[in-house]
């Protein structure tokens, strides 16, 4: 008979790893099971933007905590607090910017409106067609590529067992414990946390849930190294552009433009039809990018649920099973909300309230 873990986490991204670290620190014998490698999903392939200006109002307290955790991780995750500017290029966008930033400011984000003249002082290489802008000194970025390596070190230090390249093919609950079937063996645990991002729906189905989880297919592009053009994180009033230049000179361009494919197919693909406006928006904001060569565009699957808030709490109706998925700003918030989830599993009261997956229970039954 194999070992019995106190907690098995399916999904080795930021959320699952952060929850596992917290649970292990609280004395639980914990294992993380990852179908590919740590941080190979959305955690590792997103654009790494840490911007309070693009966070949802209700999630602001979590995002502020998330920024603190990434800042503490520092060099290990390539953290840079650069400040960020959000741009509006016409009156409609300016109105949107004013309305949204006012609410985010009320929610605690230190955002201020700045004039186009001030924008030109801060970032002389930005387009002169800016009509309105906002600034947040807390904004910056980290290097999402380092998520896997960062959490590998933390998990190892916390004594969490790591199983990579291990898909869970079935979950059974007989004899009191969860039995997780893998191609090589069966892993047994008294508690189960599903934290597998865009794959939450198929994992949930293994314990009888029809979770309303869908996947967005976000596109990110990177250029080769070039001369210094911008020092801050650049955004757009609609949220459809994130742009930053790394210290090595390469420029990362994102904004949530949608590619094609699905988690069940196992791969997403860049759609040239959406890549084009994404890059045009970047070029419009920073005209000096014209000669930068794009070396790579890719996609990552971001899980979402109908209300676009996190899924974080006990699985309704199944003792000792928990669900964890984060949408809209998962990279920023992940380390914090993952740790809160660890607290919940340890039987402690989380510092801030979680997001009960039970709110979809009715819909789940209807769907079933």
């Amino acid at each position: 008979m194999s070992a019995l873990y106190d907690l098995a986490v399916i999904g080795g991204g930021i959320l699952g790893s952060a929850a596992a670290c917290r649970a292990a620190a609280g004395g639980m014998r914990t294992i993380v099971i990852e179908q590919q490698t740590l941080g190979s999903g959305a955690s590792g392939v997103n654009a790494g933007t840490l911007s309070l200006q693009i966070k949802r109002v209700k999630l602001m307290p979590y995002a502020i905590k998330g920024h603190e955790l990434w800042e503490r991780a520092g060099e290990r995750v390539g953290f840079h607090k650069t400040g960020g500017i959000t741009l509006a290029f016409n009156q409609r966008e300016a109105e949107l910017l004013h309305e949204r930033m006012a609410l985010k400011r009320e929610a605690g984000a230190p955002i201020e409106l700045i004039s186009p003249t001030r924008v030109a002082e801060l970032e002389p290489n930005l387009s002169r067609k800016v009509v309105a802008a906002s600034w947040c000194a807390e904004d910056g970025y980290a290097n999402a590529s380092l998520s896997g390596a960062y959490y590998r070190a933390l998990l190892e230090a916390a004594g969490v067992e790591i199983r990579e390249r291990t898909p869970v093919t079935a979950i059974d609950r007989s004899g009191g414990a969860f039995q997780l079937a893998t191609p090589t063996d069966t892993i047994r645990a008294t508690r189960l946390l599903l934290a597998c991002g865009a794959w939450l729906r198929s994992a949930g189905a293994m314990i009888g849930f029809d979770l309303p989880v869908r996947a967005r297919v976000n596109t990110v592009s990177v250029t080769e190294r070039g001369p210094a053009l911008v020092g801050t994180v650049i955004g757009h009033a609609t949220g459809l552009l994130t742009l930053k230049q790394k210290p090595n000179g390469s420029v990362l361009i994102g904004g949530g433009w949608q590619g094609t494919g699905s988690p069940d197919e196992g791969r997403g693909s860049v759609d040239p039809a959406t890549l084009l406006p994404n890059l045009r928006l970047a070029m419009f904001a920073v005209p000096g990018l014209d000669r930068f060569r794009v070396v790579r565009s890719w996609t990552g699957f971001e899980a979402n649920v109908p209300d676009f808030y996190p899924l974080a709490g006990a699985a309704p109706g199944i003792d000792n099973a928990f669900l964890l998925g984060c949408v809209r700003g998962g990279y920023t918030i992940g380390p914090y909300i993952g740790a809160l989830m660890g607290d919940l599993i340890l039987g402690r009261e989380p510092e801030l309230p979680l997001f009960d997956p039970g709110r979809f229970a009715t819909e789940a039954k209807v769907a079933a």
Binding site: N90, S145, G148, A149, V222, P272, L275, D290, R293, F308
Partner: protein, 473 residues
Amino acid sequence: MSSPYDLIVLGAGPAGAAAAIKARSLGLSVAVIDEAPAAGGQVYRAPSPAPTATQPDADRAKGDALRAKLAASGAVLYANHRVWSLTPGFSVIAIGPDGPLTLEASNLIVAAGAIERHIPVTGWTLPGVIGLAGATILLKAHGVLPGRRVVVAGSGPLLLLAASKIVAAGGEVAAVVDAAPRASWLARAGAMLARPDLMAKGAGWLLALLKARVPIHSGAAIRTIHGTDGVEAVTIGPVDRDWRPVGGAERTVPADAVCLGFGLLPSTEVTRLLGAEHRYEPELGGWVPAVDASFQTSVPGLFVAGDGAGVRGADAAPLSGELAALGVARRLGRGGDLASEATKIEADWRRSSRFGAAMSALAMPPPGAAALIAPQATVCRCEGLTRATLDAAIAAGARALADLKATTRCGMGPCGGRVCGEAAAMLIGAATGWDRETIGQPSARPPLRPVPLAAITGAFDYDELPIPAPAPL
């Protein structure tokens, strides 16, 4: 955007040109796209218009004939066009001298050829070191010698081709250094006899080298390339059957250039991007798309031909191109009964590919070849990463190519992993003992070649950008 073609052929080398000509003869509408200014691929590369003296040879005559036949076939050739993305079904997105070009077709034959396999040795980033295949292009298309006194090193038949061309062009070859022991060549003699004509061609190269008294070291490899601003000397030492350096006489020879290459690697970016299944075939140069008898991949309508389907050489290439064209015609229900023609072409293809695959296998490094890479050797030259750096990341847990890239940036530069990817996979293999199937393939992503942002975006009007509704507040 023009109206859809029956077939788009990517690559106008021997395989792509033959595919296009055959498809046209069956009445299909065909477009051919190539990066080069003229058809011919690498082996039949058209001479540069620059006034350098290149000696016309047999390959030149074959290339001219191929270009004339392709021009007469009625296929539309888009030369000087760089394909940077594709979508299923199929759209081919390219950039040419007149800007962006999008073509559509229900069938695609990828005849993208092969790229050079590099095993980095200490000093290989010095000016004066060039790829072995790159050197043959310099000689063929431009009549340019890589240096005055050249060491030709690596593995496979290109060693003899490049060295004999250097000698023929009046250069000096300081040494030919072949990692494969002489016994490996003898072991392939049976397969080579399948094409005595080609065997004689190779023997001719060898004779020319012997006549010029070029030292040929088999079972040996470069230890270090010395120099400060360029190549000054090369140290050569013996290797064992698994290409691991062993003790024994090392020698240092003065040289001002090195041609270095370890065979060819099928170019599979397009088939990977479109999600076709691949398998690892060391005898064919590495990862190849899985295909049926008509060279159709697991993606319906996506065919491959030539070295991109597995390195089998220039003589097998046109035959696989014709077989793929027949497959496309059959898929479209055109050209009548093509079975007997396919059977006949297939028999010829088998004979030629037996020879070509034997040559390809000779060049293929065994797993031990990772030992040729010294700790201080630069592996990823775009990012300046040494073997020691990559080994440390692998030891810390980055055991997938994607993880190694994520933690070190290996392959993130303009080469997109084409230069360093093989070496990185060899290092993971050396550290873990895993086979290449377990280590996996690098993922292919657009753009397939670096493209300037302005070339992609073109001129546009901001107010016409299709900006979706903003995310919920």
